[in-house]
C-alpha cells in the first residue's frame, strides 16, 4: 500500500462472453480508481452500471478482460489479500443448513483462527448484530433482515481492514438501515476502509466520503460527496427563533443586494428520522396507541384543520 492507497485499478475492463467467445456485455470499461485508507467510498449507479462487476473484480471472483486491480498492495487474484478483507454480498449467500454460531465458526476456520478465538469472535459479532436469541437456529429459518445481519457478522469475522459491502442496506427495515449506517460510520471511526455499492442514494450520501458514479460500465463522476453536492451559487441559512419582522427584513436585504430568493420555508425532517423517533418512543412507552382523537388533537395543535 503506497500513499495509503488500499485499492487501485488501472484500465480495468470486463467483457462477458458467451460459450462461443462472442461478446455479450461490456460490463466495465477502462476503470481507473484509487481508494484510500480510512475512507468510506461509494460506488453508485443504476442497475447494470458495473458496480457489482467492479466489486467482483476486486475480490477476484471474476477475472479482468484487460487492465489490472490491486487490493491492499496485492493482485486481486491473490487469495492472501483476503486475510484482511471482509465482504458482504448483495444478498447474504450463506449455508442455510448451518446456524449462526456454526456459520461464524466455519468462516473463522477459513481464516485459520484458533478455536478460542473463533468462539470469542462469534460471541461478539452475534451480540453486535443482535442475533443472540436466534444463534442456534438454522439460517433457513431466518428472516431476510436476520440473514443480512449474520451476513454482516461473517464479513467482520476477521476484523478486516477493508470491507466491501454490496448493497448493504438492501432488505433491511429502516431501523436495520440506520443501524447498518451507524455501523459503517463506527467502522470508519476505527480506521477501516469501506467500499460500498448502492443505488439508494440517501444511504450513500449519509455515510460516504467519496463516491464514484458509474453508468453503462464507465466512470462518470468521482469525488468527495460534499464537494459534488455543493451548489456553489446557492446559499442556505437555517435560523431558529426568527420573528416575522426580521424575516421580512432579511428578504428585503436579499432583494436589495440583487440576489434571487429561491425559497424561504420551514424545513422538514426526513421520514427516516420521524419513523425512528416513533419507534423509539413506542419502545420507551409501550402500550400507547394512536387513536382518531389523538390524531385530531395533534393536527389541531399543529394548526392544520382536522378532516
Amino acid at each position: 500500500m503506497d500513499n495509503g492507497v488500499v485499492i487501485r485499478t488501472r484500465n480495468l475492463s470486463k467483457v462477458y462472453r458467451d460459450f462461443w467467445g462472442r461478446q455479450k456485455v461490456r460490463a466495465l470499461k477502462a476503470l481507473d480508481l484509487e481508494i484510500r485508507c480510512g475512507e468510506v467510498f461509494g460506488l453508485l449507479g443504476p442497475n447494470g452500471s458495473g458496480k457489482t462487476t467492479t466489486i467482483k473484480l476486486l475480490l477476484g471472483l471474476i477475472f479482468p478482460t484487460s487492465g489490472d486491480a490491486e487490493v491492499l498492495g496485492k493482485q486481486a487474484s491473490d487469495v492472501t489479500k483476503n486475510e484482511r478483507i471482509g465482504y458482504l454480498p448483495e444478498e447474504s449467500y450463506l449455508y442455510r443448513f448451518l446456524n449462526a454460531e456454526e456459520t461464524l465458526d466455519f468462516y473463522g476456520r477459513l481464516f485459520n483462527m484458533s478455536s478460542a478465538e473463533r468462539r470469542q469472535r462469534a460471541k461478539e459479532l452475534i451480540e453486535l448484530v443482535g442475533l443472540q436469541v436466534a444463534r442456534r437456529r438454522q439460517l433457513r429459518e431466518y428472516s431476510k433482515g436476520m440473514t443480512r445481519r449474520i451476513g454482516l457478522a461473517q464479513a467482520l469475522i476477521n476484523d478486516p481492514e477493508l470491507i466491501l459491502l454490496d448493497e448493504p442496506t438492501s432488505g433491511l427495515d429502516p431501523i436495520g438501515t440506520r443501524e447498518m449506517k451507524d455501523l459503517i460510520l463506527d467502522l470508519k471511526s476505527k480506521g477501516k476502509t469501506i467500499v460500498m455499492s448502492s443505488h439508494l442514494l440517501a444511504d450513500v450520501q449519509d455515510v460516504c466520503d467519496r463516491i464514484a458514479i458509474l453508468h453503462q460500465g464507465e466512470l462518470k463522476e468521482l469525488g468527495r460527496v460534499d464537494d459534488l453536492l455543493k451548489l456553489e451559487d446557492v446559499m442556505e441559512l437555517r435560523v431558529a427563533g426568527l420573528s416575522e419582522a426580521a424575516r421580512e427584513e432579511l428578504v428585503a436585504t436579499i432583494e436589495r443586494n440583487g440576489a434571487e430568493l429561491v425559497s424561504i420555508d420551514h424545513p422538514t425532517t426526513t421520514l427516516e428520522d420521524l419513523f425512528l423517533q416513533i419507534v423509539r418512543d413506542s419502545e420507551a412507552r409501550p402500550g400507547r396507541r394512536v387513536t382518531a382523537a389523538t390524531t385530531d388533537a395533534s393536527a389541531t395543535a399543529d394548526g392544520t384543520p382536522a378532516e
Binding site: 471472483l61 471474476i62 487469495v79 486475510e83 449467500y93 450463506l94 476456520r109 485459520n112
Partner: protein, 593 residues
C-alpha cells in the same frame, strides 16, 4: 471357485507401477502445460501471455504446497454437515430395509449360500455407496456456485486446492461412515443368516461293519447332510452346501443324544500358496500351455485323459514348520467331456507328489474324482509310500530344498482336465473371515474415494447434471477397463469398431479374416488409429474393477494385505492427479457469472 489373477506382491509391483505412473502423469502434465501456454499466448499475446502463464503456474504450485489443514478441515466439516443435514444418511435406512427383505428371497439352501449372501450384500453395498458418492460429489460445488454461497467462501483466504481437497475428504468421510455401518450390518446378517444346525435323524442311522454309524441329518435351511459317526459316538455331517458340521454324542441315561455343531468351512478365508505350472502334452513334451478345447476363455489349458498329458505344479516353501500337519493340496479343476460317459460321476484322475529335481522319487499316485465347481482338499501325510511300497518322507525326500512338484493326470480317455496356475494351490492356513470382510470393504472404500474425487473434479467446471453424466460414464469405463484394454490392444475377436461393424452388416464370422480389399484396408487403418488413440486414453481411466475384491471374499479366499496395500497406493495414484486437475480447473474458473 477360482481366482484368475493373483494379486501382485507390493515389493514386485511398486517400482514398475511408479515408473509407469510418472511417465503417464508426466506426459499428461507436459501436454497440459504446453496447451496452457499456447492458450495464454493466443488470449493475451506473445509477451503478456507467457508472463501471465508463468505467474499462474507459480501461484498454482504455491496453492498446492501452502494448503492449510484447518481450512481443508473446515471445508471437509462443511461437506459432512451438508450431507448429514440433507438426510443423506437415509441411504443407510434404505440398506437396512433391503436387508430386511433380503431375508425373504436369499435362499440358504443353494449350493454356495455364503457366496450368494456375500455377493448380494457386497454388491448392494457397492451400488448404494458408489451411487451416494456420485450424487454427493457432483452436486455440492455446482450448488454452491448456483446459490452463490461460494462468494462468501472464496472471498476468504481459501485456496481452490483447499476447496477441492476438503470436499473430496468430506464426502469420503461420509462414504466411510456409510460403509462402516453397512459393513457391520452385513457381517451380522451373514453370520446370523447362515448360522444353523441340524438334528441327527436317529431312525436313519445304520451300523456298519466296524461299529460306525451312517445316516442323515434333518432338513434345515433347505439342505441335509450325510452323517458318519464313529464307534466313540463322535463324527461329522459331510460337506453339503459348502459346509460341514461336527457331531458329538452325549449320554443321557440310556439314551445317546447327538449334538450337531455350527456350520464349518462356510465363511472362510483360505490362504493359498500358488506355484508355477508346466504341462506335458499327449506325447509327453513339456510346455507352458496344453491343449485348447475351443472354449472362448483362454484361462485354462487342458490335458487329455489316458495319454501322457499332465499338469505339473511346483511349489516352494514346503517345510515342516510351514506344514506341520502334512501337505494340504486344494484342487479346483475344470472338466471337459468329449463323450457323456456316466454324467452322475466325476472324471477320474490322480495326483503324484514328486521331487522336482529328481522325478524318480515320487509318492504313490492318489486317485481322485474331479468334480466341477467345487474345491477339493487333499491332505498328504508326512509319511508316504512309493508305488513299490517303500517309505518316503514328505519333506526330506520330496521337498529337500522346500520345493515340491504336484503332478496331476486325467485317467479317463477322451475326457479332459482344465487347469490354470491358480487352480491348484497349497492351502497354507485360513485367515480371519471378519478380517477378510473388512479388507473387501476397503476395496469398495477405495472405489468410493476414486469416484468421489472424479465427481468433485468434474463438478469444478461442469454443471451438476453434466458432471453426473461424466462421472457415471467414467465409472462404467472404470469397471470395463479390462475390456477397453483388450479393445485397445486388439485382443478382442472381430477387430476394432469399424471392422466389427462390417462383420455385423455382412454377418461375417468373428474368427475369419475379412476379405482383402479397399474397404477392409480402410476399416483396419481406421481401427489401428482408433486403437492407438484408445491405448493413450485408456491409461487415464481409473481401473475401478480391479480395486474390488468382493469375488475373492465371496469365493472364500483371503485377500492378501499386500494386495490391499497395492490397491491403496494405486488409488492414491489415481486420486492425486484427479485432485490436481480439479484444483487447476477451479482456479481457472470464474466462480461468479
Amino acid at each position: 471357485m477360482i481366482i484368475e489373477a493373483p494379486l501382485p506382491a507390493f515389493a514386485d509391483w511398486w517400482a514398475g507401477a511408479a515408473t509407469w505412473w510418472l511417465i503417464v502423469v508426466g506426459l499428461l502434465g507436459a501436454a497440459v502445460l504446453v496447451l496452457g501456454l499456447i492458450g495464454a499466448i493466443v488470449r493475451q499475446g506473445p509477451v503478456a501471455g507467457p508472463r501471465s502463464f508463468v505467474r499462474f503456474v507459480g501461484s498454482a504450485l504455491g496453492d498446492l504446497v501452502r494448503m492449510s489443514p484447518r481450512r481443508v478441515g473446515a471445508i471437509m466439516r462443511l461437506a459432512v454437515l451438508e450431507s448429514v443435514r440433507r438426510m443423506v444418511l437415509a441411504v443407510f435406512v434404505v440398506f437396512i430395509v433391503i436387508l430386511l427383505f433380503a431375508g425373504w428371497y436369499l435362499d440358504p439352501g443353494t449350493n454356495e449360500p455364503a457366496k450368494l449372501y456375500l455377493s448380494f450384500l457386497l454388491s448392494t453395498t457397492s451400488y448404494l455407496v458408489l451411487l451416494l458418492a456420485l450424487l454427493l460429489s457432483v452436486f455440492s460445488l455446482p450448488n454452491d456456485i448456483r446459490n452463490r454461497t461460494i462468494y462468501t467462501v472464496v472471498t476468504k483466504p481459501v485456496r481452490p486446492s483447499e476447496l477441492v481437497l476438503g470436499r473430496i475428504l468430506g464426502f469420503s468421510l461420509i462414504g466411510t461412515a456409510m460403509l462402516a455401518a453397512t459393513g457391520i450390518a452385513s457381517y451380522v446378517f451373514v453370520v446370523r443368516g447362515l448360522d444353523h444346525t441340524h438334528e441327527v435323524v436317529v431312525d436313519s442311522l445304520v451300523a456298519g461293519d466296524s461299529g460306525n454309524l451312517t445316516g442323515r441329518t434333518s432338513l434345515d435351511n433347505g439342505h441335509r447332510h450325510e452323517v458318519r459317526i464313529g464307534a466313540d459316538g463322535n463324527g461329522r455331517a459331510d460337506v453339503a452346501q459348502d459346509h460341514w458340521h461336527s457331531i458329538t454324542a452325549q449320554q443321557r441315561g440310556t439314551e445317546t443324544i447327538y449334538e450337531v455343531g455350527p456350520p464349518q468351512g462356510m465363511l472362510e478365508a483360505r490362504v493359498p500358496i500358488v506355484g508355477t505350472l508346466l504341462f506335458t502334452d499327449r506325447q509327453g513334451r513339456v510346455g507352458e500351455t496344453a491343449q485348447d478345447v475351443g472354449k472362448e476363455s483362454k484361462y485354462r489349458s487342458w490335458i487329455e485323459g489316458g495319454t501322457q498329458g499332465s499338469a505339473m505344479y511346483t511349489f516352494a516353501g514346503v517345510t515342516p514348520e510351514q506344514f506341520p500337519d502334512g501337505l494340504p493340496v486344494e484342487l479346483n479343476l475344470g472338466v471337459f467331456r468329449t463323450h457323456k460317459g456316466d454324467v452322475s460321476k466325476g472324471i477320474l484322475g490322480s495326483i503324484i507328489l514328486r521331487n522336482p529335481d529328481n522325478p524318480e522319487i515320487a509318492a504313490a499316485p492318489l486317485n481322485f474324482v474331479a468334480e466341477e465347481y467345487r474345491s477339493d482338499l487333499k491332505r498328504f501325510a508326512r509319511e508316504l509310500t512309493t508305488s513299490d511300497g517303500d517309505k518316503l518322507d514328505l519333506f526330506a525326500d520330496l521337498a529337500p530344498d522346500g520345493r515340491i512338484e504336484v503332478k496331476i493326470v486325467c485317467l479317463e480317455p477322451g475326457q479332459y482336465y482344465g487347469m490354470a496356475p491358480t487352480d491348484v494351490y497349497l492351502r497354507a492356513r485360513d485367515a480371519s473371515f471378519a478380517g477378510n470382510m473388512f479388507k473387501a470393504y476397503v476395496g469398495i472404500w477405495l472405489q468410493m474415494v476414486v469416484i468421489t474425487a472424479i465427481g468433485v473434479t468434474l463438478s469444478t467446471f461442469l454443471n451438476a447434471a453434466v458432471a453426473m453424466l461424466g462421472t457415471f460414464a467414467l465409472i462404467l469405463a472404470g469397471f470395463a477397463r479390462g475390456f477397453i484394454d483388450d479393445v485397445a490392444n486388439n485382443q478382442v475377436l472381430g477387430g476394432g469398431p469399424l471392422e466389427s461393424l462390417i462383420r455385423l452388416v455382412t454377418q461375417a464370422n468373428v474368427s475369419t479374416p475379412l476379405e482383402p480389399g479397399l474397404s477392409t484396408t480402410i476399416a483396419q487403418t481406421f481401427d489401428d488409429l482408433y486403437q492407438g488413440l484408445l491405448r493413450a486414453v485408456v491409461e487415464l481411466i481409473p481401473d475401478l474393477g480391479v480395486l474390488s475384491q468382493v469375488g475373492r471374499l465371496a469365493n472364500g479366499f483371503n485377500i492378501p494385505a499386500d494386495g490391499v496395500a497395492v490397491h491403496m497406493v494405486m488409488t492414491l495414484g489415481y486420486v492425486a492427479p484427479i485432485f490436481v486437475a480439479g484444483y487447476v480447473l477451479l482456479k481457472m474458473r470464474e466462480v461468479a457469472g
